[in-house]
């Protein structure tokens, strides 16, 4: 398993960042909508604390991912019309922006509401803004809508990947799959059926 990406596939590190963050983001979103409907209880408070800790983890992973991206190589884009390549990169940019904006808006929402912010019951993080009930309501709405927006952008991201996989039949998706191997551009290892 290559640590760094090469011309034909994403590295194990890049894949791990991609899929772990995808799972955490979607899982945390689903978790939030589910628990939001629960009656007030200490469990609910603890679940929200868990949701916040997962969100902070995503934020921390994103920073690490950016640092990794700065030192890693990238496989070149698969052949596609120029506008599609630009669109794909724009979608990536938007996803990156949202991956930062969603946790930060949640953090600010939490601060404006006046809740403490404790990371997995280990240590506390400072408030981003002063307590302010009006602002808290606004930020809560922003936090949720940013997630809906993320889902919309994901439709483009996943749709693009599937289009490459199913219609173009290229390696765009395969080279990012956890155990995927690129069909082309790779020297076929001995014993591997092409």
């Amino acid at each position: 398993m290559p640590l760094r990406s090469d011309t034909s596939r994403w590295s194990t590190v890049a894949k791990t960042f991609h899929w772990v963050m995808a799972l955490l983001i979607l899982g945390n979103g689903a978790f939030a909508f589910w628990m939001d409907g629960l009656k007030p209880s200490l469990q609910k408070i603890n679940m929200f604390a868990l949701h916040k800790s997962i969100g902070l983890t995503v934020l921390a992973l994103f920073l690490l991912r950016l640092m990794w991206r700065a030192v890693d190589r990238r496989p070149p884009d698969e052949p596609a019309p120029h506008w599609q390549q630009i669109a794909a990169h724009a979608v990536h940019g938007l996803l990156y922006l949202l991956i930062v904006a969603i946790p930060l808006s949640g953090w600010a929402f939490n601060s404006a509401h006046g809740f403490p912010l404790q990371y997995f019951k280990q240590f506390n993080l400072p408030a981003l803004v002063e307590k302010n009930p009006g602002l808290s309501d606004t930020l809560g709405t922003v936090h949720v809508w940013l997630f809906w927006f993320l889902l919309a952008v994901l439709v483009a991201h996943v749709g693009g990947a599937l289009k490459h996989h199913l219609i173009d039949r290229d390696d765009t998706l395969r080279r990012m799959l956890p155990f995927g191997r690129a069909k082309r551009n790779t020297s076929t290892p001995p014993g591997d059926t092409p």
């Binding site: 408070i45 603890n46 604390a49 809740f115 403490p116 404790q118 240590f123 506390n124």
Partner: protein, 186 residues
């Protein structure tokens, strides 16, 4: 009564006087506060009781004759957070419908190793009576005195926080108690 006996009794009274001096009595004046601090999700929050009363007898030189008797209206607890302030009077916490007052009365005073005066007393809170010690700082002033007390209690000792709310990893067991009383002569 013959003069001899009269003289003797006068002497007895005179001898007994220093031991019988009662400590000065005070009442609570304006500018007094009674508060508490807890910890929720690792962060301290501070609360106050809007309504309380105290009968204070205190003489630094005669601690044996000193006494604090404090009653607190538990429904007046406020912590500056609407969620928490809605939960606090409820049956999961202070249960103010059943236990409208908390009561603290001293049983005696001691001095710790550093020379601080410690009030020992019983606190009745949420229907449970347990000993609670308070550090006392008493400073007489022109109009009366300023009395500061601080102490710590464990909320679960008093059954404050039932069911899931016993979870001390979310709501700490220890609660700091602090009072700053502006005392006026009675």
């Amino acid at each position: 009564m013959n003069p001899m006996i009269r003289r003797l009794s006068a002497l007895t009274v005179a001898l007994a006087l220093p031991f019988a001096t009662s400590a000065a009595d005070y009442k609570v004046g304006p500018g007094s506060t009674l508060g508490f601090s807890g910890k929720f999700q690792g962060q301290q929050f501070d609360g106050t009781f809007g309504k309380f009363d105290a009968a204070i007898s205190y003489d630094a030189a005669n601690l044996a004759a000193s006494k604090f008797d404090v009653t607190v209206d538990t429904a007046t607890a406020k912590t500056g957070d609407s969620d928490r302030d809605n939960a606090l009077p409820g049956s999961d916490f202070l249960d103010v419908k059943k236990f409208a007052t908390a009561h603290y009365v001293t049983t005696g005073f001691t001095k710790d190793a550093k020379g601080n005066v410690i009030a020992n007393g019983n606190l009745t809170l949420h229907g449970v009576t347990k000993p609670v010690a308070l550090k006392v700082v008493f400073s007489p002033n022109a109009g009366g005195a300023r009395l500061s007390v601080t102490g710590t209690l464990k909320r679960l000792d008093f059954g404050v926080g039932s069911g899931d709310y016993k979870d001390t990893s979310t709501i700490a067991d220890e609660v700091l108690v602090n009072g700053s009383l502006n005392l006026l002569p009675k």
